[in-house]
């Protein structure tokens, strides 16, 4: 898959402080990638460099094949962004602000669609200052979704939200992923909540990208527990064979497939067994679905 974002040796300094140190990572097309790290690790700086809002001090970066600082307008035409704590013009009405922004982006007729998509239609005539934090995030998402961007950059979309609003925003991101099929980069310091959303992860700490890759690659590389989806003709029989193994943590039978969770470091054993079962004709196919993001984070970042 071609890389939608490619950063090589990215450096950003604020005076003497190095916010990004030789950061190198890629985001392939079509994935939902998590940019994960603690507060102050350089996530927001990375997103602003990708949008051409900050100038890098070293290294190279390409977004959709373009340098975002030199080709800022072209990059931003194709990218939608949600910032952490954005300062909106509070006196504007929601629809009016979206209309202004849609005009700037060149898609005047798109306002009703994004209002509907983000559940803001009811609040279209409300002033921005009247919106709750959760609805301000929805407004941010609506702005990011204007003109159907090829790439979405979401900076801490759930930060400062209460649990209810957080779940709603995550549900919305999941829906958007399914409906739009755009590449998404989400930064967050709240790791477990991105488990259901991400299929690619970039771990960053103190301005250094510690590791990046698909969940599958990362799970294998760092030996964390992971789940396999196993297609089977006789799911119950397969489940009974799997559950007897010492390296299997849990087995769940769902319609015509089985979800099996294996311990960290046991991928090779699990795959050997699944291959044997396939040879016996019990298993039609299998794939590694998810690795535990929290476990990966603990292994990669916290050491």
């Amino acid at each position: 898959m071609p890389a939608v974002i490619a950063a090589r040796g990215l450096v950003k300094r604020y005076g003497r402080v190095e916010a990004l140190r030789n950061a190198t990572f890629e985001v392939p097309e079509g994935v939902v990638a998590g940019l994960l790290g603690p507060n102050g690790s350089g996530k927001t700086t990375t997103i602003k460099i990708l949008l051409g809002l900050l100038r890098r001090d070293g290294g190279e970066v390409e977004v959709l094949g373009l340098d975002p600082w030199a080709h800022e307008a072209e990059v931003r035409r194709r990218v939608g962004a949600l910032h952490e704590n954005p300062a909106y013009p509070l006196g504007e009405r929601v629809r009016s602000l979206l209309s202004h922004l849609a005009r700037v982006k060149g898609c005047r007729g798109d306002v009703d669609r994004v209002l509907r998509l983000t559940g803001l239609s009811e609040y279209a005539e409300a002033r921005v200052r009247a919106l709750s934090r959760g609805y301000l995030q929805r407004l941010g998402l609506a702005i990011a979704l204007l003109c159907e961007p090829e790439l979405l950059l979401l900076d801490e979309p759930t930060a400062h939200l209460d649990p209810g609003a957080r779940l709603e925003i995550l549900r919305l991101i999941r829906t958007l992923r399914e409906e739009l099929g755009a590449t998404v980069l989400i930064s967050s310091h709240i790791i477990p909540e991105l488990q259901e959303v991400c299929d690619y992860a970039i771990f960053i700490q103190s301005g250094v990208v510690v590791d990046h890759g698909s969940m599958e690659e990362l799970a294998r590389r760092h030996g964390v527990s992971a789940s396999y989806r196993v297609e089977a003709r006789r799911p119950r029989l397969v489940a009974s064979r799997l559950v007897a193994e010492e390296f299997v943590e849990a087995v769940e039978v769902l319609d015509d497939y089985v979800v099996v969770r294996v311990k960290g470091g046991a991928h090779a054993q699990a795959e050997a067994l699944l291959s044997r079962l396939a040879a016996e004709g019990l298993v039609e196919g299998y794939e590694l679905r998810t690795a535990s993001l929290a476990e990966l984070y603990a292994r990669v970042v916290a050491g």
Partner: protein, 251 residues
């Protein structure tokens, strides 16, 4: 080609948004100026039309300056609060963003001022407009443009609205008094040995305040006027180039 057309469209849409956001202040000027003109014409007895005009232009000019200060203050506020980030995350170039605010701070108030001054005169006494002379208008707008650009550049580089207000106080209030006072000290009649200093002060006076200097009778310095125009042009170019090369946006 399509990219530059899209960038132009984004600039036009944003310029419209910025002009809308400072429109109420322009409207205030557009109402205040004609009222002052009508009041001066009907209630004050000033026998010379040119004196009346100078008085009026000075009085209404203050409202014009106030408008430019308000617009530059809003620009610096937009940068310091990070509201700019919402629009600069759209296909608007940094230069387009700065140029839109430049139009709102320097060009549109000047146009609003000219129109609000000219329209009541056209109704009351069209010939009186000619009495003032095009040079006075040119000097007034040159002065307004240069002072606005000094504040604008400072606001752009520092992103501090408080600095804009401080500069406005210094440039519009304190410095003119200081320059006028120094000129009156170094240029008294009958002291030719001081003329060297008087020329230098006149240059500074015309460099910063071409209209006010002429109004209070400072010895004319064409070099000062040209330098003023060059300073304004240099600040416009420098601001746009700064935006292209160095303007970074953070929340």
């Amino acid at each position: 080609m399509a990219g530059s057309r899209a960038a132009l469209g984004a600039f036009r849409a944003y310029a419209r948004y910025v002009l809308n956001s400072v429109a109420k202040w322009n409207l205030l000027l557009a109402v205040l100026t004609p009222l002052l003109v009508v009041y001066a014409y009907t209630a004050l007895y000033i026998p010379s039309t040119s004196v009346l005009l100078r008085f009026l232009v000075t009085l209404t000019g203050m409202a014009y300056y106030l408008l430019t200060i308000v617009a530059v203050y809003y620009f610096a506020l937009d940068l310091s609060r990070g509201t700019c980030m919402v629009f600069l995350s759209q296909p608007l170039t940094r230069r387009g963003y700065v140029l839109a605010w430049m139009l709102a701070s320097a060009v549109v108030p000047a146009l609003a001022y000219v129109l609000s001054l000219a329209v009541p005169f056209l109704v009351l006494d069209a010939r009186a407009l000619l009495d003032l002379g095009s040079e006075d208008y040119a000097l007034l707008f040159l002065e307004g443009l240069t002072l606005t650009m000094v504040m604008f550049s400072a606001g752009l580089a520092s992103k501090r609205p408080s600095l804009v207000i401080l500069l406005a106080l210094v440039l519009h209030l304190l410095l003119p008094i200081a320059v006028g006072t120094v000129y009156s000290i170094v240029a008294p009649p009958g002291r030719p040995w001081l003329s060297r200093y008087a020329d230098a002060v006149a240059f500074v006076s015309y460099l910063l305040y071409p209209y006010r200097s002429k109004l209070i009778g400072v010895q004319y310095s064409s070099l000062g006027v040209y330098s003023n125009a060059a300073l304004a042009a240099a600040l416009v170019v420098a601001s746009l180039e700064y935006a292209r090369r160095r303007l970074e946006v953070s929340g």
